[in-house]
Amino acid sequence: MKIATGNDLATGDVVWWDGAGWSRHVEDAVDVGDGGAALIAREDAARRVNGAYVIDATETPHGPRPAHIKDRIRARGPTVRLDLNVAPADAAAGSWVI
């Protein structure tokens, strides 16, 4: 699957396209299929999100899991400061990042 991500303009928070807007939680991300480029062009023009891009992800029981480690770290937070991480919807997600 393909999902879209970026950073919120005002806060810089990592956000994911949930079909209607931008969510803080990667679990909310939806498959944008072939519509990613058009979506990003539209959102970029709306100037609500910074540096949006489309990534590969896989469906898991815990929701979409970004294919690349960089985006998995973006989804959760620094691996060295778990106290600052965005909590996964399912605590059983475990070692989802690495």
Partner: protein
């Protein structure tokens, strides 16, 4: 310490209000990111993996308690309660919101601080020796010259859009504690046979994807001509430095391509012209600046002895305290490298405590080191034990300066959008593996430096042991380098061979240091042994 005059303050205050308006226009959708990005970068605001990151300048790594307390306030009020001291002697905040940035900069301006020259293709924050003004081996305090260069470089119209970023370092001792020859321009203040102060000028050093040690371009520039000579160095670079390829745009590439002799010839030619322009400041202006760096009022009667009866205190003194030029005083380094901690990170409470201790014990002065530690430069020996007790209670008394656990590590893939691999977890694992202080001290001086990508913010090229994180088909992989040095014996590390995964690199380091222990001769540091025996015994141990 330098104190702003009306011009300094006006420059900073005006820039804050200008940026406030730019941020408002961006938030209102009037500016696109392409339009806004260069504006925010000129104010030290990056966009990293998780949030905006604000890099605050600490000129030549020097600050006072009031400024340090402001850094704590910003960490607590606008970030998540901590800051990260960097290898450029600055501080970064990792969780800044765009809407807050103008207020943060306004608060910084009240204590004569800013985030100018911490990004972009300009002359960056000037770096220097963290022991400046305190070291017994310096010929003069380099900071007045660093300050003069700061004023000259701030918004210099000719050098605000260089081919690439430009880093200048000023030291004044033969022992290089600031990686001087790994800067675009390294300046070593020195004296000639007549006892006059001047500067040896090294140009074209740097790390990154093409590491180079700066060659000596001029062995003695009379000190009153320093600014015009540096201006000539920049002018030649600005004229001929490549702008067509970002990877070939640093001055080191220009000098490598045309040769040091030809670069020197062109600089001399340009300097002959620049000198006629009256650029060098009148001596009175330099004296005005230098007066603000006058030595503090040392107590000549304070005892020059130390009670070492507490063994833990004595251990900290042996490792983290260095001689001061004034009898009865010492230079204390506060390690920001607790075992298992994040190199360079400090909580707001720790930052505040360091501010308090600087005011109480160090004539209200602190320094940030390129090795991501903090220095209290002027501590009475009689106060060292009380200082150590206060640090120890706050987890700031790790006695590991220059030992294997005193690791330089960039933020890596945990924070940085450029990184290919994480650096911090490696630093934590290595420090934990070698947590025994007895073992660390047996290994002696061993500078281990980790970068999470080829940009080398973690100085891996200059590590006695260096680690470079790379992306191998989506997986973190770590290359091992040996034999680098950022000191006066500067050298670049060599890659040992194929890389390792996260656990493998820790084991490889263990085999490396055990090889050192097996073949070292009495008194040899790791780097000395490596230079004597070469890389082969280490490769055999690592890959054999």
């Amino acid at each position: 310490m330098y104190k702003y005059d009306q011009y300094d303050q006006t420059i900073v205050d005006t820039r804050v209000e200008e940026f406030r308006e730019q941020v408002a226009r961006r938030l209102a959708g009037e500016l696109s990111e392409d339009q806004f990005k260069p504006l925010r970068l000129m104010n030290g605001l990056y966009l990293q993996l998780h949030a905006y990151m604000l890099r605050v300048a600490i000129p030549y790594g020097t600050l006072d308690g009031r400024q340090m307390r402001m850094l704590a306030h910003i960490a607590r009020t606008y970030d998540k309660g901590y800051g990260h001291f960097t290898t450029r002697q600055n501080i970064q905040y990792n969780w800044i919101e765009l809407k807050d940035t103008p207020d943060i900069l306004a608060e910084l301006a009240t204590v004569e601080m800013h985030a100018i020259q911490t990004s972009g293709n300009c002359i960056r924050n000037i770096s220097s020796d963290q022991f400046a003004g305190a070291a017994a081996d310096e010929v003069t305090d380099p900071r007045p010259w660093a300050e003069l260069l700061r004023q000259w470089s701030t918004f210099h119209p000719e050098f605000s859009y260089l081919p690439r970023k430009f880093k200048i370092c000023v030291i004044a001792a033969d022992e290089d504690r600031a990686a001087m020859r790994l800067h675009d321009i390294g300046i070593q203040l020195t004296t000639n046979a007549a006892g006059e102060i001047g500067a040896a000028i090294y140009v074209g050093g740097g790390m990154g994807r093409t590491p180079m040690i700066a060659p000596l371009i001029k062995d003695f520039v009379p000190i009153d001509d320093l600014l015009s000579y540096v201006e000539a160095c920049l002018r030649v670079y600005n004229r001929y430095g490549r702008r067509d390829n970002i990877y070939k745009a640093r001055i080191k590439i220009l000098i490598h391509e045309i040769g040091a002799d030809e670069y020197r010839r062109q600089v001399e030619e340009e300097w002959a012209h620049v000198k006629t322009l009256g650029l060098d400041p009148p001596r009175a202006e330099f004296d005005r600046i230098a007066a603000m760096f006058a030595p503090p009022a040392f107590d000549a009667a304070t005892p020059d002895t130390l009670d070492r009866s507490d063994p833990d205190f004595a251990l900290w003194v042996d490792q983290n305290v260095k001689p001061h030029k004034q009898p009865g005083y010492a230079i204390a380094t506060i390690s920001l490298k607790p075992v298992g901690g994040i190199p360079g990170d400090a909580t707001a409470e720790q930052i505040e405590l360091m501010a308090d201790l600087a005011e109480r014990y160090s004539f209200d002065e602190l320094r940030v080191t390129h090795a991501q530690n903090i220095v209290l430069p002027h501590v009475r020996k009689a106060d060292l034990h009380a200082l150590w007790q206060a640090l120890d209670a706050a987890g700031l008394a790790t006695p590991n300066l220059d030992l294997i656990s005193d690791i330089i590590a960039c933020p890596g893939l945990d924070y940085c959008s450029l990184a290919n691999a994480r650096s911090i977890p490696l630093a934590q694992k290595i420090a934990t593996r070698f947590s025994s202080i007895e073992r660390q001290r047996d290994l002696g001086e061993l500078k281990l430096k980790i970068s999470g990508c080829i940009n080398a913010c973690g100085h891996h090229h200059a590590g006695h042991i260096g680690i470079l994180g790379v992306d191998r088909k989506g997986t973190e992989n770590y290359q091992l380098l040996l034999g680098g040095s950022g000191a006066e014996d500067a050298s670049l590390g060599k890659i040992t061979g194929p890389g390792f995964d996260e656990d493998g690199i820790v084991d490889a380091i263990e085999r490396t240091v055990e090889t050192y222990r097996a073949v070292r001769t009495h008194g040899e540091r790791f780097l000395d042994t490596y230079r004597r025996v070469g890389i082969e015994p280490f490769k055999e141990a690592i890959y054999g």
